[in-house]
Amino acid sequence: MSAAKAMLSPLGTSALLFEAPGETDLRSQQRIWSLAEEAAGWPEVREAVPGMNNLMLSFARPPRSLAALESRLREAWAAALPLAREGRVVELPVVYGGEGGPHMADVVAHTGLDVEQIVELHSMPLYPVYALGSHPGYCYLGGMDARIATPRRKVPVLSIPGGAVSIGGAQTGVSASAGPSGWNTIGSTSMSFFDPERDPPATLQPGDLIRFRVEGIVR
């Protein structure tokens, strides 16, 4: 176990954020899933929401003091074993660049790679779904090649369309519906990720796997 300590911080009195130390990798994320399952049963917790190597606990009712909850969380993390999940593999056809990938030039400028190299590095891995967030059905994916990491945009874009494939920092993902975003959109795909009438409402779950298939590159 890493000697570095987890970081805990309040989000107002509505929630507590737990950030695990170390790199975001599948093994650490599997421990986050395991911690989420345990904390979801605690009385003050309304919902345990996994993020990227972190976990937010929203409160049913804020505790009088955070100290007891924080130490319980640290102990549970120390004891948490990786929770392996047998996920489904979902393939998404992507058109990279062009109108559907308006920020490809920014990723080229930041990484110093050309479009073909970026597409190859982006479409190579099998990406595990680490967590859902951002908007209904959106998946945060692990395993992006660090060579195409590109900082989030200085000013968020007011609306990007559903199906936008984008890079934000060291992460990549696909928007499930139109809305604002601070990420760099490099391509587009089409897929229904969410239906509120279904149980569960999201198509993909943490542990499922996504493969991006190159359908075309527009320059």
Binding site: G12, A131, P196
Partner: protein, 328 residues
């Protein structure tokens, strides 16, 4: 039934928000001024969390097609029922065929959003445990979208005999919080607070911030002296809640509001405490706000104060149950 007669830009059906689906990427949504909703509902004998209509753009007109008790809270909008002026923060009885019109927000403490509650609450289906409109997901509320001209909504209990003709002292007066006449909002520092320069931290509390026109139910974008981190930060995405103050690379903060997404990755300077989110939600575009720092205990105390006010409202309404009209 009521029929919307305006191109009701951005008016939505909201309750106190949708909890329990954050892990599917579903934000809470919910009324920007949750106190106005709870108080309006209590006046009508509804559950505090029954659905109402949030109206942020004026004028706004609707027609009652059946007799129905209603309460108007939130912004004071010079409302008229068939040309009879209505008091704000008051309960009223409408008769079939009557026209309700809301004008521009007025008054010294000008607020920005009116809240209309109906007897029994607005009758729309619960989706994932809530009647709030999820604009991004296009579900909940009325057909998952903002209201528009010609929409017909139904009250859950239009026929219920409600005592009307009384009002409340609005929370802006009952729970005042102001500094030099401007709106003050209490903030609990968040994880990256100390990663900003001491000058930026000092300026954040000392200077005023303008609410820019690029502000809506998703977030309030502020304008002021840019907040500078000591070193650039690139964060991993994590859960967030309404009230979180994010600082993108531009240094101009964005406060997440009720339609906030449930996760984000910009550095977090602080979080507007839950007890002041209604106050912030009512601050008009173009107005200036100031922030004051609070700790955990003060934030809890502020929330208790809000809840105590609501309990007091409930008791006053019960007491007035047999008495004649007046301001409870």
């Amino acid at each position: 039934m009521i029929e919307i007669l305006s191109n009701a830009a951005l008016a939505t059906v909201q309750d106190l928000g949708r909890s329990g689906s954050l892990r599917f990427g579903v934000g809470t949504a919910g009324m920007m001024d949750n106190l106005a909703l709870a108080a309006g509902n209590l006046m009508l004998g509804n559950e505090a969390g029954a659905a109402g209509i949030e109206i942020p753009v004026f004028p706004f007109r609707l027609r009652f097609d059946v007799d129905c008790a209603f309460a108007l809270t939130g912004a004071d909008c010079a409302a008229r029922l068939d040309d009879v002026p209505l008091l704000p923060w008051w309960s009223h009885q409408a008769h079939a065929g009557q026209l309700l019109e809301l004008g521009l927000p007025q008054g010294v403490q000008r607020a920005s959003r009116a809240v209309l509650c109906l007897a029994g609450g607005v009758d729309v289906p619960q989706v994932l445990g809530s009647r709030s409109t999820q604009l991004r997901g296009a579900f909940g509320g009325h057909e998952g979208r903002a209201l528009r001209r010609g929409d017909v909504l139904r009250a859950e209990a239009p026929g219920r005999a409600c005592r009307t003709g009384f009002g409340l002292v609005p929370p802006a007066i009952a729970l005042p919080l102001a500094l030099d006449g401007g709106t003050v909002i209490r903030v609990l520092p968040a994880a990256e607070y100390l990663a900003f320069t001491p000058e930026s931290r000092a300026a954040f509390w000392q200077r005023g911030w303008k609410i820019t026109p690029q502000s809506d139910r998703y977030g309030f974008r502020l304008e002021g002296e840019a907040l500078r981190p000591i070193a650039p930060m690139e964060m991993r995405s994590h859960g967030i809640v309404p009230g979180v103050i994010q600082v993108p690379h531009s240094g101009q903060p964005i406060i997440q509001m009720r339609d906030a997404q449930p996760s984000g990755g910009y550095p977090k300077f602080g979080t507007v405490i839950e007890a002041d989110l209604w106050r912030l939600g009512q601050a008009p575009i173009g107005s200036r706000i100031r922030f004051v720092e609070v700790g955990w205990d003060e934030a809890l105390a502020a929330q208790n104060e809000v809840e105590a006010w609501l309990r007091k409202v409930e008791r006053m309404i019960d007491l007035h149950g047999s008495a004649s009209g007046g301001r409870a």
